[in-house]
């Protein structure tokens, strides 16, 4: 599939913790802070709730990138859920390399509920990173991801 890089808009699944990143995205909305519409935000009770297979399924279903946004280290509502999530993200980053996909497509970040602007910046940065990497070579037509974001 030939694709004009100019026309490529990355599709990024963002798993956002209810207690920080999701609230932060909400705050960004209240503050009228713009962030790229390339992200599909999925609220999760804690990033520690995310199983490793969720990241794999997101990529398998055509996500160009996956962002995992949890609380600041030491600030997890469930004590250490975000620390567990970071380890799982690292495990899957290694596995993506084994598969042949760039590990930069999966990223974990830590934000607090008040960090609307930094979250917007993180999303900008992630979108640009993935834009440079190009469309996911895994992508196939008619995937759940595309239907969700269309």
């Amino acid at each position: 599939m030939s694709m004009n890089t100019q026309a490529f808009e990355p599709r990024i699944v963002a798993f956002c913790c209810h207690y920080c990143a999701y609230a932060s995205a909400d705050l960004a909305g209240s503050m009228r802070i713009q962030y790229p519409p390339n992200v599909l935000i999925i609220r999760t009770p804690c990033t520690g709730r995310l199983e490793t297979e969720y990241f794999m399924k997101a990529f398998e279903n055509g996500a160009d990138g996956v962002l995992v946004a949890g609380c600041m280290e030491g600030g997890c509502h469930f004590i250490e859920g975000n620390l567990c999530a970071r380890k799982r993200v690292n495990y899957i980053r290694d596995m993506l390399e084994e598969v042949g996909l760039e590990k930069e497509r999966l990223r974990m970040v830590n934000v607090s509920a008040a960090m609307a602007r930094p979250l917007a910046d993180i999303i900008f940065d992630m979108v640009e990173t993935v834009r440079k990497l190009g469309p996911s070579p895994i992508k196939s037509q008619g995937t759940l991801q595309q239907e969700c974001l269309s």
């Binding site: 297979e53 794999m56 398998e60 596995m95 084994e98 598969v99 042949g100 996909l101 196939s140």
Partner: protein
């Protein structure tokens, strides 16, 4: 339990790449507990293989299934319909599971997706250690429940070698000297006198060096 770890994805892909449809078959027993071949790992490895196949332009369809136990014919029946539909099976069971599958489904290629490592226990979260070498004639009763055959690098049966430093093994300083553990344990349970007896060299015939082992219980045979 039997402890195993997964092969890497490029190796797995090269094992199954010549087939069109492959079933990744998990096992719900030991390898589920050691996080290498249960339902979750089946899901992750199947996803990884699908993606790797797509990246390599291989027309590979991957099915997923996990059964309760792969080393038992009764449980293998649960997988027979799924196995009939595919060209090959990639088993995420231990070596026993893979061979049980291969014997039961004689016309189907069955491959091992895991490297079976040892019989061990979960030492702490995410760490498994070997505890039993399945030597065929257990001596644990003589050594306070700590196995010198498995846990001493030199399989010493009559006290430590002279290489240990403090309480560390000279082969691997990260590992405690098994004989230090044995001495402490026997002291704690008041059985230090056991160490005064000289043990004759171990008979390795009941171990794997005697060839394939079989156990027969006539009272259970029909």
């Amino acid at each position: 339990m039997i402890v195993a770890q997964r092969k890497n994805i490029p190796d797995l892909l090269s094992i199954v790449e010549k087939h069109k449809t492959v079933l990744v078959l998990g096992c719900g027993t030991c390898v589920t507990v050691c996080l290498s071949g249960g339902q979750r790992e089946v899901s992750i490895i199947a996803s990884a293989l699908r993606m790797a196949a797509r990246l390599n332009d291989l027309p590979l369809t991957i099915d997923e299934l996990t059964i309760e136990r792969q080393c038992d014919n009764v449980f293998l029946e649960q997988a027979s319909d799924a196995i009939k539909k595919v060209d090959a099976v990639l088993s995420l069971g231990c070596g026993a599971g893979v061979q049980a599958l291969a014997e039961r489904f004689a016309d189907k290629p069955v491959y091992a997706g895991l490297d079976t490592a040892f019989i061990g226990i979960l030492e702490e979260r995410g760490i498994w250690t070997e505890k039993c070498a399945a030597c065929g004639s257990c001596v644990l009763h003589l050594y306070g429940g700590i196995c010198p055959v498995t846990r001493c690098a030199k399989h010493m049966l009559n006290g430590p070698c002279s290489g240990s430093r403090e309480d560390r093994c000279e082969v691997d300083p990260d590992r405690p000297c098994a004989w230090q553990l044995i001495y402490k344990r026997l002291k704690d349970i008041g059985q230090l006198d056991r160490l005064k007896e000289i043990r004759s060299p171990k008979n390795w015939k009941p171990s794997l060096s005697g060839g394939l082992r079989t156990i027969v219980r006539e009272d259970h045979r029909v």
